[in-house]
């Protein structure tokens, strides 16, 4: 326990010194809870080809989905459903909410591809994180989120249609299943998460 506190204090100092868009909340420096996905120490690359630890997302509510850029049917609709959530939030809520797309096709979805996809979909880079990582980290992330996926053929995947809402501590608050699902429950969950 004591070691944790010293560690947390160190992080707190760092957070105050280098406050960036991912986590500007010093009170989020406590060790992650038993259900927090931020216990994952995995490192990913984003659309700007920067290395980013998954737990760097801590502090904001995150709307997360696993997709791949060359997906023609469901993934654009998943992104559409996430945008629908985005456009239904108030400006105050938007400031504390992020959107994450994690690729299930890391072999092909290199950072440059993510960037092209992000631009094509007009995703605000201040709010949207597109991540690519190792195949084993992707498999583990899917396991944590309850997402199922399989490469049927080269570059063609079958996968769950699932949007997950993580609270600011990285715990799963709600999951929106299917395509074109009414976002009301997700919006309610986000609202509750931001009240804490």
């Amino acid at each position: 326990m004591k070691k944790n506190r010293i560690f947390s204090a160190g992080i707190l100092c760092l957070a105050v010194i280098s406050c960036h868009r991912f986590s500007c909340h010093p009170n989020e420096a406590a060790p992650p809870s038993g259900l927090s996905l931020y216990q994952m120490e995995s490192v990913w690359r984003d659309a700007q080809n920067r290395e980013i630890r998954f737990d760097a997302l801590k502090g904001k509510v995150e709307v997360v989905a696993m997709v791949y850029t060359s997906c023609e049917y469901a993934c654009p609709r998943i992104v559409g459903d996430m945008k629908r959530i985005e456009s239904s939030l108030t400006p105050a809520q938007l400031e504390k909410t992020g959107f994450v797309l994690i690729s299930i096709d890391p072999k092909r979805d290199i950072p440059k591809k993510l960037k092209t996809f992000s631009e094509k979909e007009s995703l605000n880079p201040d709010r949207w994180n597109l991540l690519t990582g190792s195949e084993s980290d992707v498999r583990e992330m899917a396991a944590l989120l309850g997402v199922r996926y399989k490469e049927i053929e080269e570059g063609f995947f079958s996968h769950s249609n699932l949007i997950t809402i993580l609270n600011r501590k990285g715990e799963i608050l709600h999951q929106q299943k299917g395509l074109g699902t009414d976002p009301d429950e997700s919006l309610g969950a986000i609202s509750r998460a931001l009240k804490d």
Partner: protein
Amino acid sequence: MIGIAVTVALPLPLVAEGEMARISGGTLTPFFQDLDREEKRIQTVEVGDFYLDITPVTQRDFAAFVRGNEKWQRGKIMRLFADEGYLRNWPDGVTPKLEEEESPVTNVSWFAAKAYCEKRGKRLPTIHEWEYAARADEKNHNASRDPTFQKRILNWYGKPTPATLPKVGSTYKNAFGVYDMHGLVWEWTLDFNSVLLTGESRTDKGLERELFCAGGSVGVADVGDYASFMRYAFRASLQADYAVGNLGFRCAKDQEGDHEKK
């Protein structure tokens, strides 16, 4: 003065656990076939050479792992990595029952199984690897078309889980030199969550296309292979944090010199 004679049955292993068999790779016909493809022929995959534990991991071996790795102990493990059933059959949470030390460890989540294998410099086998090794009977490396073997497997699946799990090595040794692929416990695989099936509820309409983005049409290689249906359906029902009483695991390893696989 009454002398009491106590007989203690020491749990002796039937086979040397932790040992691995070298599985020479080959062609596998995966159970699920994508029917939308242009070619009409049955799809196959190539399974490369790999090593596989000859038995499931025992309770004794898992206990040693847990003793040396606190965060995987019952009571200390994060809820993210295992549900409330984790190691529920160990009375004090740290030691298996004496009579089950040589039995396969069960009530362990995918995360825990994965961590155990990784600690040993190994990994979980993929579904394809597991299925490839599992289709062998005592004499043939591929007994998947043998109705007698199929019947045996179904008989095993039909039996209820015994109160005390039998020791590893107590079922059969297959042509690869691997024990207990059927008839002892279900086993975790690395990519168990690559099995996407339809929903179970009666209100589900057909393929529930909206829940999964799939090729459109998926069929099976052999509709008579009920045992495979059961295995895949079981995999599809799992979440990674589940601890299940008849679900254990064994580890695999790449061929020496291979790059890190998926």
